[in-house]
Symmetry: C2
Subunit: 336 residues, 2 copies
């Protein structure tokens, strides 16, 4: 499996590149970015050829898979170009920043069966989230009534690139962070979100008035299931993880609280379940035998749909884009 | 202090009556209810005269204070009548069930300076909530950005009267339960809620289709502060308290999580704070020297405004009634 990097603007890429080096499951064969400093840094660090032209890299390297960690505002185009060229793509989230880009991407992949596409919705492989899904699937808490997610992250202001603070380049907090929780809701419940309302605001970064350090979404899904998602860049610096992320699931026969830890590669987490017959008890986390990257490489080899499918990605994107619009326009948006 | 009971339909009344007996801070002098069985039961249990006419009780007993635990749908009229007769009233929440009753009550008290009125918003005296307010007031977490409240309670279906399951008599879950959290938000932050959206639904009581076993509110307050409130009657029977109620406060400089326990008179609870400089630490709960009943009796004696003022009660009612309408009509309601 030959892998190249198209855009190297988010630290999430190190997790993948280190994985590739450690497991040998792919060969890192080239890097493209339009920022010469970034390009030089990655090229030096991993000893791979650098390209300042995407087409040239695709043609020269003939990769099996492109990993896209481009600036969010350029991701959509990069992904569409790679998929259009018949190469599979693993992209950081969010893969696009607006409905137009989403539409363009859908057009590119329409009817396509060769190249595979997935997005780094890493919570799907987080042991506490995996365990949560298993407990829900086991019927332990009955039917799901409400799904609440908290996703606070540390801002680490001084380490962030300029684009992080600009709406046009970054896309906004609801699109960047809430996509995880929307996807997990869809995955855990099998329900489709039908309607969203949201807010976003900025309390701590006055020098970038477009930036949002906090946001919240309320939604209604099919079957009358409801949910709340709270995201922010206000996790206190002293917190031991990247943020005290949680899920709270209310079922007809019990409740589950999940502490998931912070970000990609975070270990730890806890699950507490309470039911009609059992007072709160902790559940040992399931071992997760597979991983997102390995599963995706296997899907490419097997010409199979990735575990986090295009449909999953597009549905989650649709919801977070609607949430951002709802916050901007202060309205309820229907997705039916 | 002579106290009578006008309406004896909610078990919260036992907390007050026991308090009165134990402390001797008031003399329980009579009970009125339109249900003869209920009347007989309380009269026998506490050895007080029973009345099936409210006016007759007021005239005969000449009370200093009326405690109103009438069926929610009749509370508004009972409270208005007592206040109109110049007698102070301590009512269970919610004191009214619609805007018309709220308007009528406001009209009765307009310009009134003698009789006092308060509502059993008991969380104000709950040690963890009191401690939360002190920590916020101390500036430990900076300015408040987001306020999230969970209020799950046990349904105890077999112990509930019929009216509990009918919207017309009960008022709905958002009005009954969320009033606590709206009031605590106002109290903790000093912010006014300007806009609400909400949902409510019923998963577990199909025989009463009007009943709601769960609800959620999203709101925006002045200064751009936002919040989420989740309420339900789905706390698992096996949970050690009446429900795992929580507050999560996100500030510009830290976060606070509060576990408050279940209902009036619940003891226990915990507070965890995390700031920019201190990893998560537990705070010893403040001792609460005063209590809601004692403070209210003192306010009557001193002709002073009760700690939970009429204005506080009316503002919280306005928000929860708007939330119920927002849920019913699937819209955003402005309170500006």
């Amino acid at each position: 499996m030959k892998l190249v990097l198209a855009g190297a603007q988010h630290f999430h890429m190190y997790h993948l590149l280190d994985y590739v080096q450690e497991t040998g499951k792919a060969v890192f064969a080239g890097v493209y970015d339009d920022d010469r400093n970034v390009l030089q840094e990655i090229s030096d660090k991993y000893g791979v050829p650098k390209y300042d032209d995407l087409d040239e890299m695709l043609q020269t390297c003939q990769p099996d898979v492109v990993a896209c960690f481009a600036k969010p505002s350029t991701r959509g185009k990069v992904i569409a170009k790679c998929l259009g060229a018949g190469v599979s793509v693993l992209a950081d989230k969010p893969p696009v920043l607006n409905l137009e880009e989403l539409h363009d991407l859908k057009k590119v992949v329409s009817g396509m069966s060769g190249p595979k596409f997935t997005v780094l919705l890493s919570e799907r492989y987080n042991p506490p989230v995996r365990t949560l899904k298993r407990i829900v699937d086991d019927g332990e808490i009955g039917d799901i009534v409400n799904f609440t997610a908290f996703r606070p992250h540390k801002m680490k202001k001084s380490e962030r690139p300029d684009w992080f603070f600009r709406r046009q380049d970054y896309g906004g907090i609801l699109v960047d962070l809430a996509i995880h929780d929307v996807d997990i809701f869809h995955w855990i419940t099998g329900r489709k979100i039908l309607e969203v309302t949201a807010h976003a605001g900025n309390f701590t970064v006055p020098e970038y008035p477009e930036f949002e350090d906090n946001g919240q979404i309320i939604f209604r899904a099919d079957g009358g299931v409801t949910g709340l998602i709270k995201v922010d860049w206000l996790a206190p610096s002293a917190h031991p993880t990247h943020g005290d992320c949680r899920y709270f699931i209310t079922g007809t026969k019990g409740t589950i609280e999940v502490k998931t830890g912070g970000d990609i590669g975070t270990t730890g987490g806890t699950i507490t379940v309470c039911t009609e017959t059992k007072p709160p008890y902790s559940v040992t986390l399931d071992r997760v035998e597979s991983d997102l990257y390995g599963d995706f490489f296997a899907a490419i080899k097997d010409n199979a749909e990735p575990a986090i499918s295009m449909k999953d990605v597009f549905e989650a994107m649709q919801v977070v884009l609607a949430a951002r619009d709802a916050a901007d326009d202060n309205c309820i948006i229907s997705l039916e």
